[in-house]
Structure formats: structure tokens, C-alpha cells
């Protein structure tokens, strides 16, 4: 119908990263899109970012999905399964803090329906307990040097910058 078409637009080739609210109004064009152009000429930084996402997708996501399917009382003490919003939040956090060469953490469900995310290697102990979205505790200690001060406490205001130094050490050591 003509009136439908009056306000429909054909996206001209730029990547649409904000697609979470798209209502599917746009039509794919047959031309070589700028999105493909970007994919082909993506910078090395972006490629590495994709590597992190791929690692999370292949090695972490299936594990987390399994935790969400645990029965209530999976630990024999009435623990709930991992909340799916906590799973999504944890993936978002890992995606933002991990670097391409950061080792993947050991991940276990917590008795409160959250997640323990831990690294214990290279003299570094880093533990992140995600209790629920935006409710996280962190504990960090570097036994090899005293340059990086230990951390213990809640992460306030979703500010994960506090993990930066620990992740840098895990990645570079």
C-alpha cells in the first residue's frame, strides 16, 4: 500500500549497531553495502574484539546456559539456577573487560542464583561474584609484586574500571 511506503526507508549501507529496537521496516539492498565494506576492512582492534566475542560465544555461553537450566536445589541446599538476566549481564561485563589474550576465567554458579568468575594463575587471584545485574563483589590480590594494590568490595555504579589493572596483569604477564 502506498501509504505504508511513504515512510519506509531503505538503509543505505551503513552498519546499524543500534538495532535492538528496530522494527524491521527496512529492506536489504542488493548493492555492496558499507557494512560489508567495514567487515572486509575492519581494523585489527575490531578484529580482536570479535575474537573475544567468539571465545565467549563458543566457550562461555554454553556453560552459562547450562547453569540457567539447573534445577532448584542443584547444590542440595535449595540454591536457585542462574538467573537469565544475570547471565546476560555477566556476558556483557566479560565482553567489556576481556582483552584478546586474557585467559578465560573459571566460572561456577553461586548458591544465590549468581556467578563466581575467577582467575587464579600467574600469581594473580581475581574473583568476581556477580550476584545479580549491577550487584557485584570483587576480590583481587597479586602475590608477585606489591605494585598493584589488593581490591576487596562492591563494584559501585557499574564501574568496572576497577578491574582494569588486574585484567592488564592477567593479559600481559
Amino acid at each position: 500500500m502506498l501509504f505504508d511506503r511513504a515512510v519506509q526507508y531503505i538503509a543505505d549501507s551503513f552498519p546499524r549497531d543500534l538495532g535492538v529496537t528496530t522494527t524491521g521496516r527496512r529492506v536489504e539492498t542488493g548493492r555492496l553495502s558499507f557494512e560489508r565494506f567495514w567487515q572486509e576492512y575492519r581494523s585489527s582492534v575490531e578484529r580482536e574484539e570479535l575474537d573475544v566475542k567468539r571465545k565467549l560465544e563458543i566457550q562461555v555461553l554454553p556453560q552459562l546456559e547450562e547453569f540457567t537450566r539447573y534445577p532448584v536445589g542443584w547444590n542440595s541446599y535449595g540454591a536457585p539456577p542462574l538467573r537469565s538476566d544475570t547471565k546476560d549481564f555477566a556476558l556483557s561485563v566479560l565482553s567489556s573487560i576481556l582483552k584478546p589474550r586474557t585467559p578465560l576465567p573459571h566460572i561456577a554458579p553461586s548458591s544465590t542464583g549468581g556467578l563466581h568468575i575467577e582467575w587464579h594463575e600467574k600469581g594473580i587471584d581475581l574473583e568476581l561474584h556477580i550476584i545479580a545485574p549491577y550487584d557485584c563483589d570483587v576480590w583481587f590480590c597479586d602475590s608477585r609484586t606489591s605494585n598493584a594494590p589488593p581490591i576487596s568490595g562492591k563494584i559501585a555504579n557499574a564501574d568496572f574500571g576497577v578491574l582494569g589493572e588486574a585484567i592488564d596483569l592477567l593479559t600481559s604477564r
Binding site: 531503505i10 549501507s13 561485563v93 568496572f160
Partner: protein, 280 residues
């Protein structure tokens, strides 16, 4: 219960804004037992107003975090487990759309013909409150839990057709101060088209709580293939608490942020064309 508010004083106001779509979204802790049959029960309650129903793939959840590397493009994984569908409930003319999935409810207003006027935010907000509270009552009644909002989102999609009769694709500097089009060398003489993506952190008392995403996208009108620029302004953030009341307080703030961001990234020339009414 949250109540409707008048337009905040001092907010930029346009007589003929180029808005063609508004999306209000509340993401909440997933109702793990929510299934298609429950969406059907919800539809039964709103069917008179929204008679057209369809299914779509679900929208991935999104969380704003700070301090570390910012999420570059909205973190989306290819989920391995099948996810319950997102349901669309549309009015007969397609102007209003309610979208529902197990962790999100949205209300879209869409300009479906050139004559259709933007109804303004306040009536849309009032409709959306009713829809969210109706859903909350249903999920409580069915023993599925309750709506506990964790992210709220407001998106305005604007369509800018021409700039003083010229194509907006190669006159983007007339539309936005973000783009000057200046070059260091004259080699690239004629600009064909460009797009811009920017994002900004929203702060309250210097504490970050959300982001604004600005996206200028060159496009073509499907009606006559004339060049247009689509300007999407999205705000997303975390409500102060996991309640519907707090979610709507945040949506109101985000809407104000969208309007101010829109005004900031567009030029006085365009403001005049759209009839900016709050300044002399």
C-alpha cells in the same frame, strides 16, 4: 502508580519535528516460565486495540556498564538455546505497536503516512504505563513472578528529507555540527555520502547511569527513492530500583535527554526549519 507529567520546563520544543518513530522500552529480569501462551493471554486483554499479531525473533538483552572498554556495538551473541519469540501486537493502521518477550516490553509509535502527526511523548508514555502494569498484573496472576525493570530505553527515529532543497547526503554539515566535511587536501573533491555514530555517557551527580547513542544514517525513501538522512537518538540506562515507578521516572529523564541530545547534534538552521518554539 506513576502518573503522567507535563512537558518539563525548558525542554527544547519543535512545532514540526522530523520524528517518524518513537520506541519506549523496559527490559526486566526474565520471566523464565513465560511462554507463547502467556503472550496470548496478554493479547486477549489488548486485542480490541491491537488486533494484528505476529511473531519476531527476540531482541537480545543489553546492559550499560562503565569504566572498562565501552560496548562497541551492543553485545549480542548467537544464542545456542532456542529463545521464546517476541510478539508484535499492532493497531489496525500500524501506528501503534506493542512488543512483548520474556524479558522486555516495548511500545512503538510509527508515522505511517505523511499526514499523520506525532502525538507527543506524554500520551505515548501514558499508554505504555497502562500496558506495563497490565502485563505485571497478568504475570503475577499466572504465578510467573513480577516485572522487575533493569534497563530502560527511549529511541527517537527522525527522518530528514532535504536541506533547503538540497540532498541531505552531501549536505550533512547543514544538518549537524558534528560534521564539517573539511579535508586536509583537495583530492577528494565531491563528497557522495557519509554517516556518523557517536555515544555519550549520561551522569547524575557525576555518577554514570546510562548512555546516549547518536546515529546519522544515509538512506533513501522507499516511496520515491529520494535521499534522506535518518537520525536515531537512543538513550539506555539503569533505573534507580527494580520497580515500574522507577522505570518510568528514568524513561522521562531519558526522553528529556533524547530531546536535548537531538537539539545538540542538529544545527540552528534545521531547528528553524522544524519550528523551534522555545527560543525567540
Amino acid at each position: 502508580m506513576p502518573t503522567s507529567h507535563d512537558r518539563p520546563p525548558g525542554l527544547p520544543d519543535f512545532k514540526s519535528p522530523p520524528v517518524t518513530e518513537v520506541v519506549l522500552s523496559v527490559q526486566f529480569a526474565a520471566l523464565s516460565s513465560f511462554r507463547g501462551v502467556h503472550a496470548g493471554l496478554y493479547w486477549r486483554e489488548i486485542r480490541d486495540e491491537y488486533p494484528v499479531v505476529s511473531e519476531q525473533v527476540p531482541i537480545a538483552s543489553a546492559f550499560e556498564t562503565f569504566g572498562a572498554a565501552p560496548p562497541s556495538s551492543g553485545f549480542q551473541l548467537h544464542l545456542t538455546a532456542p529463545q521464546p519469540a517476541r510478539h508484535w501486537f499492532e493497531t489496525a493502521n500500524g501506528e501503534h505497536l506493542v512488543q512483548l518477550q520474556q524479558d522486555r516490553i516495548l511500545h512503538n509509535w510509527r508515522k505511517r503516512s505523511p499526514e499523520m502527526e506525532y502525538p507527543r511523548y506524554e500520551p505515548l508514555r501514558d499508554k505504555f504505563i497502562g500496558e506495563v502494569e497490565r502485563l505485571n498484573a497478568l504475570v503475577k496472576k499466572e504465578g510467573l513472578g513480577e516485572i522487575r525493570p533493569n534497563q530502560c530505553e527511549v529511541t527517537y527515529i527522525n527522518t530528514i528529507a532535504s536541506v533547503e532543497g538540497k540532498s541531505p547526503h552531501d549536505h550533512l554539515s547543514h544538518i549537524t555540527p558534528l560534521w564539517t566535511g573539511n579535508l586536509s587536501e583537495p583530492f577528494l573533491a565531491a563528497l557522495e555520502t557519509t554517516g556518523i555514530q557517536t555515544k555519550y555517557v549520561l551522569r547524575k551527580n557525576d555518577v554514570p547511569y546510562g548512555r546516549v547513542y547518536i546515529n546519522f544514517i544515509p538512506a533513501f525513501s522507499a516511496a520515491d527513492y529520494s535521499p534522506v538522512v535518518q537520525l536515531e537518538v537512543t538513550t539506555r540506562g539503569k533505573p534507580d530500583e527494580e520497580s515500574i515507578a522507577a522505570a518510568f521516572v528514568l524513561l522521562d529523564e531519558e526522553r528529556a535527554a533524547v530531546v536535548r541530545a537531538f537539539t545538540s547534534v542538529t544545527t540552528p538552521l534545521m531547528h528553524k526549519e522544524w519550528g523551534r518554539a522555545d527560543v525567540v
